[in-house]
């Protein structure tokens, strides 16, 4: 078992743990925390998807000539995607927190059960 599989497995477990939190925690801040755990898990999965055994970072330097790159570097594309995903994740988290503040303002509580709601 190489570290790619471990990372992949850990990523899935992180998502599961986070999902558990999202579905069972009743405090909105904790739901957001759980969500960021899910996010981290997904990022881990994505990086693992690009990982290749015994290869180096996709940066050409003195030790790595451009011509050798195809046989020596890991897949750079998932890394680029993760970069994007991380930044998007921060944006989403920040926005969720802003909503949490507003909800607190309106409802004086962050317990999801006690928040006024629309129905049916």
């Amino acid at each position: 078992m190489n570290i790619g599989s471990i990372a992949m497995g850990a990523g899935f477990l992180l998502v599961l743990i986070g999902l558990w939190g999202i579905l069972t925690r009743t405090h909105i801040i904790q739901i957001i925390v759980s969500f960021s755990v899910v996010d981290t898990g997904v990022h881990l999965i994505m990086v693992a998807a690009g990982y290749m055994h015994q290869r180096t970072a996709p940066i050409i330097s003195e030790g790595l000539a451009a011509s050798d790159a195809p046989s020596l570097v890991v897949d750079p594309l998932p890394q680029a995607l993760v970069l994007t995903a991380i930044v998007i994740g921060l944006g989403v988290t920040a926005l969720m927190l802003a909503f949490a503040l507003r909800i607190h303002e309106k409802n004086d509580t962050l317990e999801i059960k006690n928040i006024e709601r629309l129905r049916w």
């Binding site: 940066i59 050409i60 570097v73």
Partner: protein, 240 residues
């Protein structure tokens, strides 16, 4: 109780789904598809030593533009969603120690320099606009820790933010007008791989991204920071 049971069952289902995926995963031995193309031709195409940077800025530049836009959205939304009332006088922050204040005053320029270094060298070494921008924002964090009453010049921040965003789009357009497509970085000479002045537009764009991300994150931070001590604007309206 039933609810918890249902959630457990559902998560077991999710676990089963993940497990099925996990079984299908194996680390590849060869680069496939587009990855092999990137590995083989990035240096030649763009002149960037950092393949990830080349992908982020050039090949998938549109994603990055979108990503910057998301941060922009977040900080814009924040600016009217968490609009605070005019500052009240009794703000409840502890005075921070003299030591901290002096230290931060000394550190901040270096941190900013580090951030700039990171995004200027994005095409050469790990790091780039996002990382550099985040470092810039952390300088602000330090300032705020040292002096909670520090007022951020949000006007300047937003001018930098907007104009770097606008310039980013313009640089992209220049690719369309003088190069082969929107965001084509080969409008400037690609130079020799590994040199500071190489990789066409990539360093320029990364600088703009760095500035933009840095200011956006700073904006976010300062909005959240200011929220701590002040009340939010009242909301209007009733049912709707």
């Amino acid at each position: 109780m039933i609810r918890t049971f249902g959630i457990i069952l559902t998560l077991i289902g999710v676990a089963f789904l993940f497990f099925s995926l996990f079984l299908e995963y194996e680390t590849p031995l060869e680069l496939s598809g587009s990855a092999s193309y990137y590995a083989a031709s990035t240096a030649e195409d763009t002149g960037s030593a950092n393949l990830v940077s080349a992908i982020v800025v050039t090949y998938r530049g549109l994603d990055t533009l979108g990503e910057v836009t998301i941060l922009f959205l977040t900080s814009s939304i924040m600016s009217y969603m968490l609009k605070t009332k005019k500052a009240r006088n009794q703000r409840t922050f502890r005075e921070s120690s003299e030591l901290l204040r002096t230290a931060s005053a000394l550190l901040v320029p270096f941190i900013i320099l580090l951030g700039v270094f990171i995004f200027v060298h994005g095409h050469l070494s790990p790091g780039g606009g996002f990382q550099g921008g985040a470092v810039l924002a952390s300088a602000l964090v330090l300032l705020l820790v040292a002096d909670p009453l520090y007022t951020v010049q949000s006007r300047i921040l937003s001018v930098i933010e907007s104009s770097s965003g606008f310039l980013y789009v313009l640089l992209g357009l220049s690719g369309l007008l003088f190069g082969a497509g929107f965001l084509d970085s080969r409008v400037l000479p690609t130079g020799r791989v590994g040199e500071l002045f190489s990789a066409g537009l990539i360093p320029l764009i990364y600088i703009l991204i760095g500035l933009k991300v840095g200011t956006e994150l700073s904006n976010l931070l300062s909005v959240f920071h200011s929220v701590q001590g002040q009340d939010l604007m009242e909301d209007e309206g009733g049912a709707r």
